[in-house]
């Protein structure tokens, strides 16, 4: 029991920091385009994404176990995971629409972006390839969602700060943001203890 809880906790911490889906794996970057958003909007999207990640990580763990080591796994597994994401999306879309509350309708509007995000699918594939247990999958899914939300808030704040800096005109906007992401990615890579090869 304790071992399971520890696994859950450590894998979620790893997914937030060392294996951050945005800085370490460059997934989910499409949400960075455009003007900086309000923190409330970013947190709402992050919450929807975290919910989707946790829910789908549990279901895809079960699906991955059912598939086992069947032949043509490279074709079956991604298709099955995509089907799971679609089913969850459609179920949430229609249930939220039926309930009709304003907050749920707002969440429903963000469901399409959260589900068609490569960060979600990439996380599920990573967990399947590395054969996580249920506790590890749920912890990793939760950590991915929280890490992604934290990374979005960090990048939104960075956009505000970069606007105030004296950046050369050709590099204003996305080019300098890419350079910033590269430096943060390098910092995380170094903090996790990986040395650059000689």
């Amino acid at each position: 029991m304790w071992q399971t809880l520890l696994n859950f906790f450590f894998y979620s911490i790893a997914a937030i920091a060392a294996e951050n889906v945005l800085f370490a794996r460059a997934l989910g970057l499409s949400y960075l385009g455009g003007q900086p958003r309000r923190i409330a909007d970013t947190l709402l999207f992050g919450g929807v994404f975290t919910g989707m990640t946790v829910l789908s990580s549990g279901i895809t763990w079960a699906v991955s176990n059912m598939l086992g080591s069947r032949p043509y796994l490279n074709y079956l597994r991604p298709t099955a995971f995509f089907a799971v994401i679609c089913l969850i999306y459609l179920a949430c879309y229609f249930v939220f629409g039926k309930l009709g509350r304003p907050r749920l309708l707002e969440i429903r509007r963000l469901l399409g972006t959260a589900c068609s995000n490569c960060a979600l699918f990439g996380t599920l594939m990573l967990m399947a390839v590395q054969r996580f247990s249920l506790a590890q999958s749920l912890g990793y899914g939760l950590g991915t969602g929280i890490g992604f939300t934290a990374a979005l808030c960090l990048v939104d704040e960075a956009k505000h700060q970069l606007k105030r800096c004296a950046v050369p005109s050709s590099f204003r906007g996305m080019p300098v943001l890419f350079l910033y992401l590269g430096l943060v990615s390098l910092a995380i890579y170094g903090l996790t203890g990986h040395p650059l090869p000689q």
Partner: protein, 230 residues
């Protein structure tokens, strides 16, 4: 102020805009994971670019032909399913042509159908006005993705391997850090900035040529203004 040459340049190079400085990759951060992580060699970059084209084309064509008949809640599911079917076909063909490329690309190959460029293009299709316009834009943007993908693959491949098509460069000196995602981000930022800078340089040159000689500002006019010479 005369702007004839600038206007002619802007009119004639509208197609170049979508390939370079107005490319959705460098302006809106679309489809970045494949560029930042998977373009560590020219082979992998070419494979990613070809896969992206082969997966996106059926989706875009279907959107153009039958898009209005698909209800909005089901469109991500439908187009995602079409993209996945195309991806499985590419996977089957790739196992026959280049079987070793999949082991090095890992999970990133399977993310191609979930890329943001496809879903944003599909979502905003109706806003473009005429029916054929979004498809043309999407194809130009796809061409821009392929261009940047191959450019990054070429640069990173040369830096990682220290050679250009088996010809040693810089005495075989290599920078293995180019293999990692952080270098992909930095290289992409430099490419985006360089494209914009080139565009501005061309505009400045054409603007100077448009003006009569006596009205042209001298070179380095800002420095000379600061010194009080002009």
């Amino acid at each position: 102020m005369k702007l004839d040459r600038c206007k002619a340049y802007t009119r004639r190079t509208g197609w170049l805009r979508n390939l370079t400085w107005k490319n959705p990759v460098v302006t809106s951060a679309l489809s970045l994971p494949f560029l930042v992580v998977s373009t560590y060699s020219l082979n992998s970059a070419a494979f990613i670019a070809a896969s992206m084209v082969l997966v996106s084309l059926p989706v875009l064509l279907l959107r153009r032909l039958i898009g209005r008949r698909i209800p909005a809640p089901f469109s991500p599911v439908f187009y995602g399913a079409v993209a996945f079917a195309a991806l499985m076909a590419v996977r089957w063909a790739g196992e026959w042509l280049m079987p070793t490329v999949f082991s090095s690309m890992g999970i990133y190959f399977y993310l191609i159908p979930m890329n943001s460029f496809l879903y944003l293009t599909i979502d905003h299709w109706e806003e473009a006005g005429s029916p054929g316009r979004p498809l043309r834009f999407a194809l130009w943007h796809l061409a821009g993705f392929v261009l940047i993908c191959l450019l990054m693959g070429l640069v990173r491949g040369v830096l990682v391997g220290g050679a250009f098509f088996q010809e040693e460069l810089f005495g075989g000196l290599s920078f293995s850090g180019a293999y990692y995602p952080f270098f992909g981000f930095v290289l992409l930022g430099m490419i985006a900035g360089a494209m914009r800078w080139l565009h501005r340089v061309v505009l400045v040159v054409l603007l100077r040529r448009d003006q009569p000689k006596e009205e042209r500002r001298p070179l380095l006019w800002r420095r000379r203004m600061k010194r009080g010479e002009w």
